[in-house]
Structure formats: C-alpha cells, structure tokens
C-alpha cells in the first residue's frame, strides 16, 4: 500500500495495478489514475522545474489548468513534451521523464538563475545586450552572440526529430445540441435535450463524464452525486441520438457554430487498436451549443506559494475523492471564501488531519464556522499565510494577522507545521469558448469573477460557467439551457433532482495577494511574480495586454488559466482602478493545447493526393522519372541505364525530330464549352476570334486577365456548332475554369453556355515527327490522316485498336504532329497501340525535358514566360490581339505601364562559351564576372538544342527584338556562372514552320 492511498473510494480500480516509470524509476498505480494521482499516491512531490528560475514545482491542480507538473512522454524515439501529469492517464509501460533541468530534476544548475532574480525581472532583455557600436560584435552581432546561450535555455520539454508513427484522424459531426462539459449542469442539459428527441453530442475533456459530481461528495436525488452522474450517463449511452465523447476537449468556437474538439482516443492505451487513431479531431456543426464548462479555482498570491505541497483546494478534494489519494497528512487550508471548508471536511473524512484553516476574512458564515469546528485544527480567521517552509517539499507555513480591507499584516509571523497547503482564491468561470469570438466578458463584483459575454453565436450557458456555483443552480440552468437550445422553451421536461449540500458560498473576499517579503508567484510556469506586475506598471505597461507581453504572464502552456485574474487584480490595485477598467486579455483558440498531428489529421504523412494520367503505370514500367506538376505527375525523361538527364532528353528530342516521338498530354486542362452562345463566349474571353472557326477545326487562343496581362494559352477545338473543347496549360486549368465560370455566372448570365471540366474524360497523346503520320496511318481505322483528310488544325474521328479516338493535327514540337484523344479508360490501351504501331518506325516516348527542348527550339511560350507579369506584346503575340472586338483585357491592355519601352520582352539566347545555361540566370550588358550588376532581364527556359547543337534558352530582356544579334552576358552568381551569350530571335528552329505543315 502506498503511503498516501486511501483504502477505498474513487474511480480507481484497486484490483489491478499498472506499472510505469518516471525518470527511469519504476512506479505502480491503478487503472483510473492519472500520472499525478499515481505519483502523489507514491509520495512524490517534485514533478518539474519552472521556466525561468528552474524552481522546484509540484502539482497544483487536478486538471487541464495545471501550470507546474508538466512532463515528457516517450514512445520509442518519439517524444511528447509538456503534458500535464494531471491529464495523463497511466497505462502499463508508460514512460515519462521530467523536463527543463540539468543534470537532474532533484539538482538543477539552472536554479542559479534565481540569484539574478531581480536582474531578470520583466523587460530584462530589452534593456541590455545592445552591445558595442564598433568592432566585430557591433550592430546586432553582440545580441546574436548572447542569444545563442539564451536560446539554449528556451522551452520546457524537448521535441524529437523522429517521425511519430501514430495515426491521426478527423471527423465531421452535425447535431442539434452540443453540450460541452459533463458536470451537473452539462449532464442535466444533455439529459433534457436527449429526452426531447434531439441529436446530441456530449463532450468532456475528462475520461469520466460527471464533472464535479464525481468528487463533490454531495447527494443528488438521494444518491451520492457520482452515482447519480453514472446513472445519468448510462442512460444517455443507450440513446441512439446521443454521442458521448469523453476525453474530448472542445477547444475552438469558430464562425457558424462550428466547434473544434480533440478526442484523445488512444492516449490511455498501451497500444491503439488496429486502425484506431491516437487522436481524433472533431469539427462539430451544432444548431445550438450548451456551454457547461464549469469554473477554475484560483490560487492566492503570497510568498512561497509555488512550493511543492501547495495545491488548489478543489484539486486536493479531487485527489482524495476521485483517486483515493491524500495530498497530505497534515493539511493547512488557506482561503478567501467558503468553498475550501467543504474541501477541508472532505479531506478530513478521507483520513487527513487538518492542522489549520487560515481565512483572510475576519467574519465567516455560520456554515463555514461550523465546518471549521467540525474538522478540528486551528481556525485562524482574519489571518493570512505569509511564507512557506521547506525545500523542494513543504514542511510548514507561516501565518500573520491580516486585514482584508487594507491588506495590512500585523503581529508576529507564526509557523505551523504542514505537509500540504491547500489554497482557494475564489472561482473563475471557464468562459474561454464563449469569449473566443472576441466579445469582452463582464466583471461581476459579487463573485469577483469575469462572467461570460453576451452570446455572438447560438449558445446558452449553464452552471458554474455562468457563475452559478451551486449544484441546484447548475442542474436548473442545465435543464433550462437545453430547453432553450432544443427550442422547447416552454417548460420542464422532467422534475429537477434534489440536492443535499452544505450551505457554503463560494463568493470570495476581494483578496488576491498577500504582500510580504519573498517571491510571490502569479504565473507559476513563467515565474511571473507580483513584483514583476508592479514593475510593468511602473514602466508604463499598464494595459493588460501590455502587462501580458511585457511579463509573459498568461503566455505559458496553461495560458493563464490560474494566473490571469490574480495578475490583473494586482495591476488594478497598482493603478488604483477597479478590475473591470483593467479588463482581461483576449481569449484565443485552442482552449487547451492540441497536438499538431491531430490538426493535420488524415493529411499527416500524406499531404496531398496524387493526380495520375491513364498512362501513369506504363510510364513507371518504362523507366520514366516522374516530375510533379501541381498535383499531377508527368514523365520527365525515360532514362536508359547509365544515361544522364541531358543525354536522355537530347536522345528523345532528337528522335522526335528525326523519326517520331510521343508524349502524354493527358494533364492539359480540358473544358467542354457547350451551348448556343459558346462561340460568342469564346470571342469574349480569347483575344482572337473563335466564332469563325469551322466545325472540325482547332485554333490557338490567347487569354488575358481583366487587367490586360496574359493569363493562359491553348488550343480550342470546335466539335460541333454548339460544342467546343478548350485546352489549357496543365498548371492553369483550375484557374481558367474559375475565371470562365465567374464570367458566365456573374457578368454574362444571359449567355447560354455550359462549362464542364473534362480534363479527366480524355487521355491525350501527342505524336510528332517526320514519321508521325505514317505511324498513325498504320493504326488508325475509320478515317484517313493524310493531308487532305486532316489538314493542319483539322480534327478527325476514328478508332485505334478498337477504341474511339479524336485526332487533331496540331503541333507544339514544330514537327508534323497530332494529338490523339481517347476516353481516359482507353488511354493506356491506345497509347500502347500507338507504341506498337510506332515500333517499326523507331517511335520514342519523350518526357517534359524533351518537350521543353522542342518548344524552346520553336520559341513557344509556356508558364515560365506567361508568368502573370507579361503582356501579349511582351511575348510577341500582338498578332493575336483582335482589333475587331472587345475581349477580356482589351480595355486595360494599352495602359502606359503595359506599353512602356523598358519592359522585358521575349528573345532567344545562345550560349557562346558552349556551357549550359540555367533557368533563373540573369542577363547583363557589362563583362564583369566577379561582381555582375544591372540586370537587363533573365532566362526563363534552357536546353541543349540537338537541332542547333548549342545550349540555348528563352529570355525576357529589356529592349527585346532590338537586341537581336547583339552580345550580352549570362550572370548567375548563385551558381557561379558567367559567360557570353548572343541574343537572337526566339524562333530558333524552322521559323517558317515548314516541318509541321509537311
């Protein structure tokens, strides 16, 4: 039996024990234990070290508000830092280590930081490390030198580099009523909503639903509260309309009543089930929400208030009642309100001795007084704790007479022996979710607490969340909230349960701090003291938001759940202003920290889907190196063994010019443009005319944006009177589609045109080269492909190996070339048939590199040139800008900036030193290899041209055509390349187009 464990009671199962390790030391606990309860039960009091001063810290709370007891969980090489021991359910084999110390938790060199305490006050960094004005450490160098060492001290736990092998998932849920929090208020709300037949989601971050009913010791409906809660939960579990979500923290309240929640599905298991995620991220869209998130107890600020052994009263009660763990044998209670008296009684009942009750109030209620007498020990009303004693473990406290009205201490401090000090500084409703939408909460003087703001979304509050701290109120409000949320406002669905409870009031005296000598902590994790708050005040950082940022109060992993209100109360006092004038800092998601993995969810390890063409598997089988283009994959080269990339593409390009090559063009965007106004529509969106295009013909088109700059180009095929097939570049397909849809839907709704993405409907293969026609002729049936039947830009229909195909004679390579389109499911079949037919002719498949080479030789532009900054004229496409009609962009394309002389324009460049060029290299006029300056443009695309036997490129250069025939230099300092180039026309090869016209 462990030293602190009680014989009975609580949610733990004493029949079975669980083994785990903490800092390498073996421990045991019971199912139902958290790491905190199990370690406390084993007599451990030191859990971690604080951030700045490395002070020893124990457990302060029993829940999600824990600032001190943070640990790192190890799973193989995977590390999970900063996990509150109070939320960590133990399981067999759990391995936990403490953090932020060197060399060990017990002895930590970092604790010497405390010696510099006064120096290390708020704002320390801003005032120093500015460094000398001259010398090697001038400017910001000195700071960077210091920063190196300061950074070593950053953070608490350590993250690992190893990939987490756990699974994360997300799920969408819809419901009529979402109930957040399962205490008496939430339970009652869930019961009520369920009974009215609504679809209910019912979430609580704790593993066991019931909230404070699990440990309050009250009687509800004649049974212990915990039993009442269990019965209610059992009933809800059987209702098909109710989804219970234990271990689920609702952490974000977003627009449109969309709430985000994290379910810790398998964290409490040694291993998740097959396919079971560790975390499930819920997005819940609720018609209405009941917020029943309860209240956090606040600590009091006094010297030594951070010593291990000091704990919140409600936490102590939870450990005793819910886990069967006594936080101490000799307990002192320190409070400013009545609620801690019930705690004292509960601890006493569980077997602890109450050494003293210290209350800042001189007068207390009769019930409190009676409770104090019944637990025994000293009763010190009108007193305050002014110090704690002991090392890394509490051994006693000091008290002094205290005047709550003035804050004055008097009399001699007196020591009282104790191994546990429980503290209650009042209660703060958990209004975080309600406040996330940005409305300011309201201060309530009676309760000394911020109450929830006016709803900005459809939610209703209930229970301690509303500042209604009694269980009767919680039940009544839970019921009423559900009636409102479910839309059955008109009344009781069932009788409210009866509650037996001591008549204690949790409204505290307005005392937040005891000013005595010594460090009194406000933010425990970040070591922000009451003096730091006052220093911020003196330096003018008086807005709460300045206070926060200057001192880091409330910025730790607990986000100030315990520290914000005491902190701003101290600032209010310094300012001599009431608390509401000071206000509170802004609440933000998440309510409590959530794993990054859960938010990535199904995309963890699988960031984006892959888009594959019908011929994808064939390419892979034929040694293609695949290249990502957006989400698509396209062959870059089909490398033969031992070939370099350049050798491969040169071979492919050469083969295409000499015999024939074939390339997969299935990724081109394809849009069906259909309807009686389709031709008119195309006239409006393309710079050139399409209404004159004959059926069975295709035309090259250029599209501008509204602002007159080039947007995309491609061919559009007229398949019927009212039926066009538009192609776009692979990269711009989605953008063009949206652009066209916008125009049709918003600007010209009167046009009868239908747009449908048919990119995936068609597989495309472009076959080009001197032998291309012969190859086609040998395998196409149902149509001829000779010059007569299939003129340049003509379209015919036929079959290849039994599959219907549509063939258009158009050329990107500059060769006699054809695009063969077939149904996507036939794509690979047709491709193989073409390869088969081409075999005798030496047909070669080619990839993007060769495609690029062929197009550069021809001077065709693509995305590298149509980069959103160029105009049609910059690319010498002036001839396509129709003067006969307005089109998208026509009104804007002649603006002065787009016509300016010094714009960069398309040219060709040839490497004169026979060395390769690089995309992204610049062009300069001066021969200054060491320090090139004054770019006149840049290279957009490069290749080795087998046709020219030279390294060539396309470039955008100031002056454009006027520089043809002139010499310049390529400047590529990043890749250490400088050399002479000749600027030439971008039409490198067969400028008259003889080859493609055949």
């Amino acid at each position: 039996m462990s030293p602190r464990r009680t014989d009975s009671g609580g949610r733990i199962d004493r029949q079975r024990s669980i083994r785990f390790t903490f800092d390498g030391k073996p421990f045991t606990g019971y199912p139902g234990d958290t790491l905190a309860s199990a370690l406390l039960a084993s007599g451990v009091s030191l859990f971690g070290r604080s951030f700045k001063y490395h002070r020893p810290r124990g457990v302060m709370t029993a829940g999600v508000d824990e600032p001190n007891a943070l640990v790192t969980v190890l799973k193989g090489g995977v590390r999970e830092p900063n996990i509150p021991a109070t939320l960590l359910e133990i399981y067999d084999g759990l391995t936990v280590v403490s953090q932020n110390h060197f060399p060990s938790l017990g002895f930590d060199i970092g604790a010497t930081n405390q010696l510099g305490g006064k120096l290390l006050g708020a704002g320390f960094y801003y005032k120093t490390f500015i460094g000398p004005v001259i010398g090697p450490l001038k400017g910001t160098r000195f700071w960077m030198f210091c920063e190196y060492f300061i950074r070593r001290a950053a953070g608490l736990g350590r993250a690992g580099n190893e990939k987490d092998t756990a699974r994360y998932e997300r799920i969408n849920a819809f419901c009529d009523v979402l109930v957040v929090g399962s205490g008496p208020a939430g339970l009652m709300a869930a019961k009520t909503a369920a009974e009215s037949g609504k679809r209910v989601v019912f979430a609580d971050l704790e593993p066991r639903l019931g909230g404070s009913a699990n440990w309050s010791g009250e009687t509800i409906d004649g049974m212990p509260a915990a039993d009442w809660a269990e019965a209610a939960v059992t009933e809800l579990r059987q209702n098909a309309n109710v989804r219970l979500l234990p271990r689920t923290t609702v952490w974000g309240y977003y627009d449109g009543n969309t709430l985000a929640a994290l379910e810790r599905v398998a964290d409490h298991k040694p291993n998740p089930g097959k396919g079971e995620p560790r975390h499930r991220y819920w997005t819940i869209r609720a018609e209405a929400v009941v917020l029943a998130t309860g209240a956090f107890e606040r600590p009091l600020v006094f010297p030594g208030n951070d010593r291990p052994g000091v704990m919140l009263a409600s936490a102590a009660e939870r450990y005793a009642a819910e886990f069967g763990v006594l936080p101490g044998r000799k307990v002192v209670v320190f409070t400013n309100n009545d609620s801690a008296y019930a705690t004292a009684a509960a601890l006493k009942k569980a077997g602890a001795g109450i050494a003293a009750i210290v209350d800042v109030r001189r007068e207390v209620s009769e019930a409190a007084h009676a409770a104090a007498l019944s637990v025994g020990g000293e009763f010190l009303a009108g007193h305050a704790v002014v110090a704690t004693e002991g090392g890394a473990k509490l051994s006693g406290i000091k008290v002094q007479i205290f005047d709550a009205a003035t804050g004055a201490l008097s009399g001699e401090p007196r020591s009282i022996e104790a191994d546990c000090l429980i503290v209650s500084g009042g209660w703060s409703p958990v209004i975080h979710l309600a406040s996330q939408a940005g409305i300011n909460p309201q201060w309530d003087d009676a309760r000394q607490a911020f109450l929830p703001p006016q709803p900005t979304q459809n939610w209703v509050g209930a229970g301690a969340f509303n500042g209604s701290f009694s269980t009767e109120e919680a039940l009544a409000e839970g019921h009423a909230a559900a009636c409102q949320a479910a839309g059955t406002v008109d009344g009781l669905i069932e009788a409210l349960p009866e509650v037996e409870t001591p008549a204690l009031r949790s409204h505290p005296a307005p005392v937040f701090e005891i000013k005595a000598k010594g460090k009194a902590f406000v933010d425990f994790q970040h070591d922000v003291t009451a003096d730091d708050v006052r220093l911020a005040y003196r330096e003018g950082f008086v807005s709460v938001e300045h206070l926060k940022r200057y001192t880091t109060l409330g910025m730790a992993t607990d986000q100030g759940k315990t520290s914000n209100v005491p902190g701003l109360a101290i600032m209010a006092e310094a300012l001599g202003k009431p608390i509401p004038d000071v206000g509170t800092t802004r609440f933000r998601p998440p309510f409590s920290a959530v794993s990054l993995g859960s938010l990535a969810a199904e995309r963890y390890g699988d960031l984006k889907p892959e888009r594959l063409t019908p011929m994808h598997d064939w390419h892979i089988e034929h040694n293609a190196t695949m290249y990502p283009v957006g989400l698509w994959f396209r062959p870059m080269i089909y490398g033969d063994p031992g070939e370099t990339v350049e050798q491969a593409y040169v071979r492919e390009a050469k083969a295409t010019r000499e015999t024939a090559g074939i390339v997969d063009v299935s990724t081109l965007g394809k849009i069906a443009v259909q309807g009686p106004d389709a031709a008119e529509f195309l006239d409006r969106v393309y710079t050139n005319v399409f209404s004159t295009l004959a059926i069975g013909k295709a035309r090259y088109g250029l599209m501008l944006r509204e602002d007159g700059l080039a947007m995309d180009d491609g061919t559009t095929w007229r398949l019927g009177q009212n039926d066009f097939l538009m192609t776009t570049t692979t990269a711009n397909a989605g953008k063009v589609m949206q652009h066209l849809e916008y125009l049709l839907d918003v600007i010209w709704p009167d046009l009868k045109v239908q747009l449908t993405s048919v990119t995936d409907q068609w597989a495309g293969a472009a076959i080009g080269g001197p032998k291309a026609r012969e190859i086609l002729a040998s395998c196409v049936t149902g149509t001829a492909v000779d010059n007569e039947a299939l003129q340049f830009m003509g379209i015919v229909h036929g079959e290849i190996a039994g599959a219907p195909v549509m063939i258009c004679r158009l050329s990107f390579s500059g060769e006699m070339a054809f695009e063969v389109y077939s149904g996507a499911c036939h794509g690979c079949h047709v491709w193989k048939a073409l390869m088969q037919a081409g075999k005798p002719f030496g047909l070669v498949p080619y990839g993007l590199e060769a495609l690029g080479t062929l197009r550069i030789e021809k001077g065709h532009v693509t995305g590298a040139e149509i980069d959103g900054r160029t105009t049609g004229r910059d690319l010498h496409l002036d001839w396509m800008l129709s003067k006969k009609k307005p089109f998208i962009g026509s009104a804007m394309m002649d603006r002065e900036g787009l016509m300016a002389e010094d714009r960069i324009k398309l040219v060709g460049v040839i490497s004169l030193d026979n060395r390769p060029l690089n995309g992204g290299a610049h062009i300069v006029e001066e021969n200054n290899p060491d320090e090139p300056r004054n770019s006149i443009g840049h290279i957009t695309a490069v290749c080795y041209s087998p046709a020219l036997g030279k390294y060539i490129g396309l470039a955008l250069v100031k002056g454009g055509k006027s520089r043809h025939g002139s010499r310049a230099f390529v400047a590529d300092p990043l890749r250490k390349r400088f050399g002479p180039v000749e600027i030439v026309s971008h039409h490198f090869f067969d400028p008259e187009g003889k080859r493609m016209h055949g």
Binding site: N172, E602, R611, V758, A824
Partner: protein, 195 residues
C-alpha cells in the same frame, strides 16, 4: 469492345482488411458503370430536361435540390441548379441523350471516362464518409436517392445515397487512386471488405 481500365488496378486488394473484430464496418467496391452523363438545362428549361430524363432513363426525379432516384442499373440526381448526373450500367447513354435533349433545352456532356464510381456500404458507411466530407450524412438530412456535390481538400466528389447504408461516389478519375487509398485507410478502424 475495348476493355475499360480501372485507375484503381494496382491498389485494388479484394478481401477483408483492418479491424474486423466487430465485423465488417463497410464494403468498398468500384461499380464501373458504362455511362456517366451530365445533363444541364438552361434556366427555365429544367422541367423539359426532367421529362427527357424520365423518357430515356425511366427515372422520375423528385423536385428540389439534389433530388434523385436510383434503380438497379440506373441512377440520377441533381448536382447543381439545373444540372444532373445520370448513370447507367450500359454504355452509350450520352448518345441517346444527345438525341433527347435539344440545344434549346440544355446540354449533354459525357463523363463516362472522366469519373470513377465507388460504392461504400455497410453499417459504418456514414462514419467513414464523415471523415472526408463536411456534410451531414444522417438519413433524415440525406435521404435515399438524393445527391450532393462536395469536396475533400483537392478532391471533388458527387455523392448519391443509394440505400439506407449505401452511397455511390463519383470522383475525378485522375484522383481516384489516391482517394481509394485514403478510403481504405479510413475504413481500417471499422474493418472493411473490398469486393
């Protein structure tokens, strides 16, 4: 006729998978209809288009957004204002509709190759789909026969409920393999069968 090649081929693994301790949560299949056709009516011509659908496919679609019907070998549902997806196990439906829908009424677009049809059925079908789509799959919100258009990140999908526990999904063919892989992955938790 030429064999139709499924984009799922290399990842198609018939049999049961995942956590089948509590039975098979979902059954996943590819239905490979012969025809998937999109019909769109000009504004004001919707009734005529519905009449054409009835005449050709014998499916009387109910009024209202997303309204649909599914039979043994045919199904149809609304996907956008005036737009419908018609599916038939037989090939050649687009050609038939081209005769039935004049240019005064609307347009016919053949998507038979462009969309891959997947079916998910079983007691956990709603649960698995909820992992992908922010759509309420509960029966009252999504009745049998009706259809929707929705999105999972980059993947666009049309979904028709074809049974109390059965949904047919139409995704772009190029995405089908990725989507299928994700679908299998998401189904592991509940146990699944590929058939």
């Amino acid at each position: 006729m030429v064999d139709v090649l499924s984009p799922l081929k290399p990842v198609w693994k018939p049999g049961t998978h995942g956590n089948t301790a509590n039975g098979i949560g979902v059954v996943l299949t590819e239905t490979q209809p012969g025809s998937i056709v999109q019909l769109a009516a000009w504004q004001g011509q919707e009734k005529k288009l519905l009449a054409a659908i009835k005449a050709v496919s014998a499916l009387a679609l109910p009024d209202g957004a997303g309204g649909g019907k599914s039979g043994d070998s045919k199904a149809a549902f609304g996907i956008a204002p005036g737009k419908f997806l018609i599916v038939d196990q037989n090939e050649g439906l687009a050609a038939i509709f081209s005769g039935a829908v004049t240019s005064e009424v609307g347009t016919v677009t053949d998507l038979s190759h462009g969309r891959t049809a997947l079916r998910i059925s079983g007691p956990k079908a709603e649960w698995v789909l909820a992992k992908f789509f922010a759509v309420d799959f509960a029966l009252p919100a999504f009745p049998v026969g009706s259809g929707i258009a929705t999105l999972h990140h980059d993947i666009f999908a049309h979904i028709q409920r074809t049974g109390a526990e059965q949904f047919d999904l139409y995704v772009f063919r190029s995405f089908a393999r990725s989507f299928w892989t994700m679908l299998c992955h998401a189904s592991e938790e509940v146990g699944y069968e590929v058939s």
